[in-house]
Amino acid sequence: MIGRPGSAATTAAVAAAVAAAVVLALAAAPLVLAPYAVTVLTRILVFALLAMSLDLLVGITGLPSLGHGAYFGAGAYAAGWVTLHASPSGPVALLVALTAGGLVAAAAGCVAVRARGIFFLMLTLAIGEIVQQLAESWHEVTGGSNGLYGIPAARVGGAALVGDQAVHWWVLAVAATAAAGLWLLASSPFGHALRGIRDNEARMRALGYRVYGYKLAAFVVAGAVAGLAGGLLSAQQRLVTPAELGLGTSIPALLAVTIGGAGTLWGACVGAAVVVLVRDHLGASLGGHGSLLLGAVFVAVVYLLPGGAARALSMPRRRG
């Protein structure tokens, strides 16, 4: 995992250059693409940020979560509610979304990170669905099954985010910053400790690491970033429904991480693009069978691409 200093620095420089080129290309995209394609690209960006936050849990910490939609949805609802009822400011809404995602994740994480492996998967799934039921039944705040609608355009720097291009650039700026933050976190000593816990929890505990604290911190950070992605969703769609919280979000997010190869962060972005294109475009052109296609992709990935999410659980030996 740790190469020679020279090669590691070169790799990091190449990665940074590639990332910068990708961000520049994404920034230039609205100037050449049709409006609909821009909306799709924006949706991919939001989903990619969600998938990256999940990869921090699944790939880097080894905690396979099937309830990550809950924190995404919590952020989306919080941002939507604040924009509707309190302040139209875009940054304020995102800050609230980040906090909401982190808080809900902290409450759920206290319980969930006590479990490991497949138990963690079960617990996060159950908690995620419970949060979704809450969103459906708590009419006063969430609007019940209708959701929050008529959310006004967020305002950034005095101007309202109207039009696909403005929204795209706002989402890109925030998502790129958050992605850089996640990457820094993953390559910090904290990130290395998380990888250590994934590969050999007992040894990390013997070395004196407080494993519970590290796992909880990773869960809260992942939840907060997912909440931020939810805030971006609310700014883009200006509509938040209970569907954002449930398995309808959690499953594609986990699939994106699985496709991309867990633990790389950039792989999750590629996976997110594949998932959004398959579900929303291929699915729509085949008469709305998005979930059928997702299921088929899931089965194919599990059979044909071992080692993606498999590393996250019990196969530390696969790493070189």
Partner: protein
Amino acid sequence: MPAWLDTHLVSVLNGLAIGFLLFILAVGLSLVFGMMDVLNLAHGVLFLTGGYMAWAIAGEHPSWLGFAGALAAAAVVGSLAGVGLSLATERLARRSHLDQALLTLGLALIAADALSVMFGDDVHAVGPPPGLDGSVSILGSAYPVYRLAIIAVGAALAAAVHRIVERTALGALVRATVADRQMVSAVGIDDRRVRVAVFGIGSLLAAVAGALGAPIYGVRPGLDATVLVLALVVVVIGGLGSVRGALVGALVIGQIETLGRSLLSDLASFVLFGALALVLVVRPHGLFGDPSGTRS
């Protein structure tokens, strides 16, 4: 005061009915996990399939023949699906548990989409068979007979499953496999057929629970996720691989669901989460689970 008693009696009975239904659903999930570490995320779809069988064969006003036919069809389809799932996950036996869970999740997505293509996206109501569609008076309040029947059938099935697992050679093998899989294969027992059988029977029970539950829950897309979560909570609370745990967990969750919904209708989900959190903090392996393997 009598009114208070009445509402609570009805609620307790509802909780019992839902609890026994949950037991029929969850026991298969628990045993499959306990025996082969496969978390079958398609379990909710099996329940929903049973429900659609009830709607398609028995209809809104079923005859006894129709209802029995629906139960039989659910049993056949459920056990075939279980054998299929067992073979599909067996191919991944050397891979991580997460891969197996993801495989069942993918198959569940495909099956749920196929169901909505075949039966549409509408909410369907299914009636109880004749004779069970009325209500009886219990302490002065009317109570649907069908729910009482569910309690009886559920209790009988629970007793049967318990007897099979505790008193037969097959059950002993199941318990031994849950407790120590390596030892079972080390003494020369080929447990592959047992695993297919347990997967098949567990899935059969899930589909039958769906058909039995159709007159209570109705049938609709999305019901699969709802019942899957309830079954997972039951299994986590009760302890994995434990029949007794699944029964106690199911009855507890049945009461919590109905009491929670009647006391605080909006925030009932919190109560469910609270119960889950409480059990996990006090007994991390569930009420009847134990860290090194589970007993029934």
